[in-house]
Symmetry: C2
Subunit: 510 residues, 2 copies
């Protein structure tokens, strides 16, 4: 018997006409075939099998779903949007269907699930398979879960970081030092990055900042910046902005840095989990790929921040420094106060307005956001050597106060395509203090959750505007915060959650 | 402002016409809506959101996928087969769409991912939500992964067992003792259960055996029995068989015992992982739900069996006994030799033929399968008290030898709907010894993988027929095993894997 899947007759049998069904399955490539088609019967294809789909010179792996209705003909292969785009198809193109070869790197994922260490080549193979789209969503979920918590040691994190850098492109700016900055997040309204970049670039640093969109938070820096200017710059556009202004504020996803990270982040978001090892690999791989030599990391610590305890902060700091060293990066970690939101706004547009007020030295600018930004910018200036030890903060403060940072910010946004006004939400609702007293506790996580239920980050104007801070005295009926949503449905959805969590802001009667 | 999702006007806005798209998404309920529909825009629904879909008195949670083509009208809601069946819809029925409430038990899954212990109410809530279909596939994958390896302690396993029993129905046979038997698996061709049940019932035990289909193996007992008789009995049918014959050999899934287990097993299969805690909860919850009082567990131990080492076997045995005790079950574990396949056939029909040969006292009956079945049946007779200590094996052997077991097996199959001949594969290929010598090693896992690639268990006739055993001497060119498949595609697929794994059976030259 000859191997049946090599001859041209066999190829013809397995060739179907591509049909764009227009189904948005998110990122997972799905192929739809008639269950009663000749191909499915002769090949013994089972529902949910992983199959290889090729057309012209492109090959992808897709999950098979059977169609039992007449929305598809027997000679057609329906493709999800993700599959259609990855194969770069035109209607009626021939697609060739075959069994997908077994994904060998899944055995490494299983090994990790059972608690074993992964070596560099294993992580490299996993990341390469992920980027090539060979993992179904359930496989991605298993990998993310298996690596969550503290399941990866520093060597594994360094290997994962390296694998993620190798799987994407790496930018060479042709100069050194190149600065970067990252916030570990988990603190709503902590939108210091645009301010730090403006100050740093105003002080002469090269800081080509790429940011991600929100993972589990109501807004990432890229979401916030997108309400102010264009952020989906390609590498050439980024280069032009950085050449001209020394800095930029772009979305990292558009330039294909660490593409594995984008896939994993989507799954982490669906699961609403963060993994310490993947967090470090994600942060550092993006920095290395972006060509950074010096990286400042802001790590807010507080009971409802992402990093909750000093012990956790110290462990994470040590891991960041260790993995950074292995990767040849100059890393400094600043542990900051994470007990309450840094700005007033929580959500893309609301945070953008905070940023503008600080940069414009507005009298109502959130004081904590301003102070935090100056501290971080100062530390970065010291790390790079532009400011002497202990003098960074004063240098940064001056650049902000005298308007250089604001002018630099406007220049960067102009170079990126123009500065625009952030949108305003259509539906709002103020939540009032149920009694007079002092604000003694703010639950960052619940606030973030409320902002997300209101529609952030997908709805740019949605979120929460906070009117109080820890220690403030409020009267009964005084607004504590205002919900903002783009639709009534989402406002109602968030309000329903608010009703079940009255203690998000705790008032102690006097 | 009034809550917008309560009034009848709002309900009308969110009501669409049900359309059966005939898409088999396996178990996950998916709802398809036009991205540009009024509902999606006004409610701000995002792709992959979890939405609540209700019709008449039924409510499900489904994953939203956007449709950007004209396969769906704006006023239509497309539903996957799983969603359609769970809502029990007719074409054109009204379905009401709303945001799904947050699934609170996912916070417990996250806690487990981060390594925390789960209390009984947490596991109860997780299992209830899983059975109610509130978990998307990625959530199920995360839960299965988080519980894999040894992540659950005995108390957690007992809680999970109890939750799984509570979430389904529990059978009362109105008599005691009620016997049951389970094999931990991982050993291809270890199809002792039908033989043990026939012997036990022939000796007067009540043994209403329900079995599962294969999880990650080429065949489960239910897959094998299905080639011989009807196994999808409902509870009434099972009762009739057991009343009449004292035993049955049914598929557990048809009678809704431990429905959570069926959901989890599907995901474990997709991930190809087993979890020790879920294995114990799965086994014991099914036994408790099936009304058993005495359970014998066969645990094959060997380097390529599921349980690989003595230490692992002892830990698993202790956990099974401890959790069994908490649950009020009499459990006995028999650790058996797991170094090579027990029967000759690997795959549903091939294993069925082994079972028939043993029961019929055929001269070519696999000796190891016969001996193992007698040992297990004997231990069960002793556990229940029907045989005195050390006398069980002799009692069992007599019942097999004198034809009582075979007559009982025929009677059981007849009561279940008739005994039939197992199917024969259309495509076969013998794999021959590359050299003369002695068989020194058989890799159970690779053999099982080959049988699966050939189509088992979905293709009943597919699998591997083994012609050699450990220690046997073979001539060059003598067939070691024969691949059996229902289609040429699958045969080729398995052969390709065979070519890459020549050492599945190791021959030492002499």
């Amino acid at each position: 018997m000859n191997a049946p899947d090599t001859g041209p007759a066999h190829a013809q049998l397995n060739t179907l006409k591509a049909r764009r069904l227009g189904i948005d399955t998110h990122q997972e490539a799905v192929i739809y075939l008639r269950q009663d088609s000749h191909l499915c019967r002769s090949e013994g294809l089972a529902s949910h099998a992983r199959v290889q789909v090729s057309s012209h010179d492109k090959v992808i792996v897709a999950t098979l779903q059977f169609i039992t209705s007449s929305i598809l003909h027997h000679y057609e292969a329906g493709l999800s949007e993700a599959a259609w785009q990855r194969l770069d198809l035109k209607a009626g193109d021939d697609v060739l269907i075959a069994y997908a070869p077994a994904v060998e790197s899944l055995s490494y994922v299983r090994a990790k699930i059972y608690g074993r260490r992964l070596e560099k080549p294993a992580l490299r193979q996993i990341v390469d398979d992920i980027v090539a789209g060979r993992y179904a969503d359930v496989h991605l979920a298993a990998f993310v879960t298996a690596c969550a918590g503290d399941a990866l040691d520093n060597d594994e994190i360094a290997s994962l970081t390296d694998a993620m850098v190798q799987a994407g492109r790496r930018i060479d700016w042709g100069r050194t030092p190149v600065s970067d900055k990252h916030s570990v997040g988990g603190l709503p309204g902590n939108r210091t990055t645009p301010i730090v970049v403006a100050i740093a670039a105003a002080c002469g640093l090269t800081i080509p900042k790429t940011s991600s969109r929100a993972i589990t938070s109501p807004s990432g820096t890229a979401d916030t910046m997108e309400t102010l200017t264009r952020v989906d710059l390609d590498l050439e556009a980024m280069r032009r902005v950085v050449e001209k202004e020394g800095g930029c504020l772009a979305w990292g996803g558009a330039i294909d840095l660490s593409p594995a990270d984008d896939v994993l982040i989507r799954v982490e978001r669906a699961l609403d989990i963060d993994s310490e090892g993947q967090l470090i690999a994600s942060v550092l791989s993006k920095k290395i790929a972006a060509g950074a030599t010096h990286v400042l990391i802001d790590m807010p610590v507080g009971p409802t921040a992402k990093v909750r305890t000093q012990a956790e902060a110290d462990r994470l700091t040590a891991a960041l420094l260790a993995v950074g060293k292995t990767a040849g990066l100059q890393v400094r970690v600043l542990q900051t106060d994470g007990t309450e939101p840094v700005g007033s706004g929580i959500g893309p547009a609301l945070e953008a307005r905070d940023v503008l007020r600080v940069l414009q030295n507005a009298p109502d600018a959130p004081a904590v956001l301003r102070a935090r930004s100056v501290t971080l910018a100062g530390a970065l200036l010291e790390l790079v050597g532009t400011a002497r030890p202990r003098e960074g903060e004063r240098t940064a403060d001056t650049a902000l106060r005298d308007g250089r940072a604001w002018r630099k910010f406007v220049a960067i946004c102009t170079a990126q395509g123009g500065l625009r006004e952030p949108p305003v939400a259509a539906c709002t609702r103020a939540i009032e203090a149920p009694q007079a007293g002092r604000v003694v506790k703010i639950d960052n996580r619940v606030l973030a959750r409320i902002a997300k239920l209101a529609g952030a980050p997908d709805d740019k104007a949605a979120g929460v505007e906070l009117h109080v801070h820890l220690g403030m005295t409020v009267a009964r009926g005084q607004p504590l915060y205002t919900l903002q949503a783009e639709t009534h449905g989402e406002l109602a959805y968030a309000l329903e959650y608010v009703a079940r969590h009255p203690d998000v802001i705790e008032i102690q009667g006097q």
